[in-house]
Symmetry: C3
Subunit: 349 residues, 3 copies
């Protein structure tokens, strides 16, 4: 038997199975620089040690989504190497800030399995936790993917669909946010004067500017996360597939949308949780990504007066500016929509 890894097929998973993923990864200021070069983030807390220290962090934390992507990347060789489709996320929340020098690793538990009626594929649900070198959990999320079977005749190892939360509860939203010295928060330096109290539920904001994605950019980003999904890198194979070209990692769109959302949410300095996300359409190189957001809800954090939470829907589109907030017509998404992301951000009160 060859020593290269074929990845797991649907019938290889078992309910309750725990997978410790390779490869541990020390995150450094080098990763921060490259992530800045790729997405152009301008949130002051992640950009400036001086700003972060003034408000109560020991130094600038690693961007939340960079942490997500690195943890996610580790799960790919074990969970989704034979995936047909990445179906969804739920219950994602950040549990501890990550700083340069921390080493991240990941562990997944299989919490659901459901064979499709075709018997060619099945849905695998995993709860993944990202850890630091000392065992501190930094991130937790559930993901479900449709995975091929190696052998159609193989018996499915279970038939169980987990109940998943629609949205994270406010009591977990502050876990990765230290107490903030709000008096030291310099709004001019942060880029806008709007605080938690200035946002209204139902308010929609266009993020205005678009950004075009190049093949080299998404490949560099996705490799930075050590994500090995072939479809992002292998043009020769992709030419024979259903898209005929390389597919950009869905997380790339999330990071672009987050960076664009600065223009409207400059003080939303921390992504606390991702309630759910749908990659409505694939993105290919050459496409220009725009985004807009809506405030879905607002919440206090239990026993905290420094910050509040905004629940946002951020919609990203391809080649369509968002001044009129393109979204759905009836049940159907506007054909330009790439991403429909539902998440919580923290903002100074």
């Amino acid at each position: 038997m060859s020593k290269n890894s074929p990845g797991n097929y649907f019938e290889d998973f078992r309910i309750g199975q725990v997978i410790r993923h390779a490869t541990p990864r020390t995150v450094t200021s080098g990763d921060v620089a490259l992530y800045t070069g790729l997405f152009g983030g301008r949130f002051a807390v992640q950009s400036s040690d001086a700003f972060a220290k003034a408000i109560g962090y020991p130094r600038a934390p690693i961007d939340d989504l960079l942490v997500f992507h690195i943890v996610f990347g580790k799960t790919v060789p074990d969970v989704s190497l034979n995936a047909v489709a990445n179906l969804g996320y739920a219950g994602c929340y950040f549990r501890s800030p990550v700083y340069p020098g921390d080493t991240l690793s990941a562990l997944s538990e299989v919490i659901g399995l459901k064979e499709n009626s075709s018997r060619k594929t099945g849905i695998v649900y995993v709860r993944t936790t990202g850890y630091k070198q000392d065992g501190t959990p930094v991130l937790e999320y559930v993901r479900w993917v449709m995975v091929r079977k190696r052998d159609e005749a193989a018996a499915a190892a279970g038939d169980q669909v987990p109940r998943l939360p629609t949205a994270l509860e406010p009591n977990v939203l502050g876990e990765a946010c230290p107490p903030i010295k709000a008096a030291n928060y310099d709004f001019a330096m942060a880029g806008a004067l709007y605080k938690f109290g200035d946002y209204q539920v139902g308010e929609k904001i266009d993020h205005v500017v678009g950004v075009t994605v190049e093949e080299a950019e998404h490949q560099i980003a996705t490799r930075l996360y050590q994500n090995t999904a072939r479809i992002h890198f292998d043009l020769f194979s992709a030419k024979q597939g259903r898209f005929g070209r390389r597919l950009i990692y869905g997380g790339h769109v999330i990071s672009l949308a987050r960076a664009l959302s600065f223009n409207g949410f400059a003080n939303a300095f921390h992504v606390a949780a991702i309630n759910g996300g749908r990659h409505v359409a694939p993105l290919f190189a050459g496409g220009t990504v725009y985004a807009w957001s809506e405030v879905l809800a607002k919440s206090d954090l239990p026993s905290r007066s420094d910050v509040g939470a905004l629940r946002l829907r951020t919609v990203a589109t391809c080649d369509k500016p968002c001044a009129d907030f393109p979204f759905k017509t009836g049940e159907d998404y506007d054909p330009a929509v790439l991403l429909d992301l539902d998440y919580w951000v923290l903002m100074i009160r």
Copy 2:
């Protein structure tokens, strides 16, 4: 009113107005690596901690132009988001070396305003200063840009054109250069044996090699500086504009020309000042940039015997090698010229 930022229009500026720009930015060895990957600089002082320490720096300083680009980038959302054209620089000089770990921020004062006769646009002059976290100024320059009016009928807030220096005086050229232990300067390691005394006023040097720019490269660079000028990133919009494609940040050409100038000025280890610069023509991806330089003047530095200053004109071209020093025919620039940069470098005596 939407919370996204529309940027300032001509009539929003006031003489004497002071703008503290977002976002503070900690510069790290990650930025240095990416800048090296993008431009390939080979000046030993910026490349090697060991070399820099031997001659009197505490460690390798951040490349002067990287400092410039980061400071410049901060001013874009406030000064030039609605610019029609970037008209010029003057009086730019470096005031303190910057090291990994330093946090940069920027402040601009409006020092001139001049409405154009069309009443559709006006020229804004700002003096920008870059600072470290402790308030040390690291860089100062004047820039003027043509900015749109929101409303043609609006009254201009002033009519004042500042007097600007043609060139920086030698007394400020050493501010960002510590005393150099010239005896420890290893010329073989630095890449050439030529010292300050070996250069003659009027001497022209072709930098020989060309470098082709890709879309991903200039986008990554410009985002690294958190420069938000849409024209560099947004192909969908650009297609409808006057160029039909993304325009490369003018500073990208400056950095390329500086890196190319190593081949002829290997010991010009510090850009001390930029007297003025003109972006003669736009650069687009796929173009190959060449450069040549002329020594315009030489100067001692008051009470310093370690280093001297060369005033250089560096001309960058697109798709035209520079063996015959393409420049002007009469008043008109050669159509291949991209950049005409007048600046001071320091060199070991």
Copy 3:
């Protein structure tokens, strides 16, 4: 005479000549991040400080091939600026681990010269050593290149071809590997359970996945190494040359193949030596690189029980998956083959 450097021509070299190369280069965690983004390496020792410390390194070492490329890059302006072809490597071995913060420099000795019968070119053999700031050698190799003569009539400075080793002896393979605490080596975290004892001489492994190379990627990589070979960067000149486009640095293919080889050799955590390598065909942007490997030999390391050495042939191809191990038909390489690399890796026993 102009101060730009024309590089050396064949008749400029002398047997025994020693060249100290510019530019010293401090390697940082920024370089590591960018190298990860460009090649996506997943070997745990280089990826994780925590993993590296557990098994006996002070922290994660710099990837061996990144060290090679940086040292190699320094030699280009002096050795191969006027090269027609890069003919081969031999006797390359790593002598000390390199860590972020170390400064690398390089020195070459001319050990062979052989004029070609055309009298237009000649072959130059150099032995290059890479050093740290404290003089510790980190890498040594012999390289030979065909270099143009400036003047056909010039007398050759020598006619001497050195004897070169076919393969490195086992006694030097452990020099850059500290004693490994094998009991602390976490195979699940490293990505595979296979140890030294599990591999058989003659075993072939397909690395399965391909990766497509973009112009921006190889340019950024090659500049990161401060390699100045014009053919990699200058499209305008390349259009007039024999390929009509930019040629990708051969070392880029080596790094891609090494990263791909993780899928089959996840525990081959250290490249100890390169016996020889042949760039069989040039690679251009847009090509998708695949690879496979064969175990050529196995060896103990004298007086070490922690690690063993595998001698591998890794073959990289362009646009041709390697399930059937494409290599040679008789004397001729399969037309898809790019690289035939013979090297030693260390693996936990």
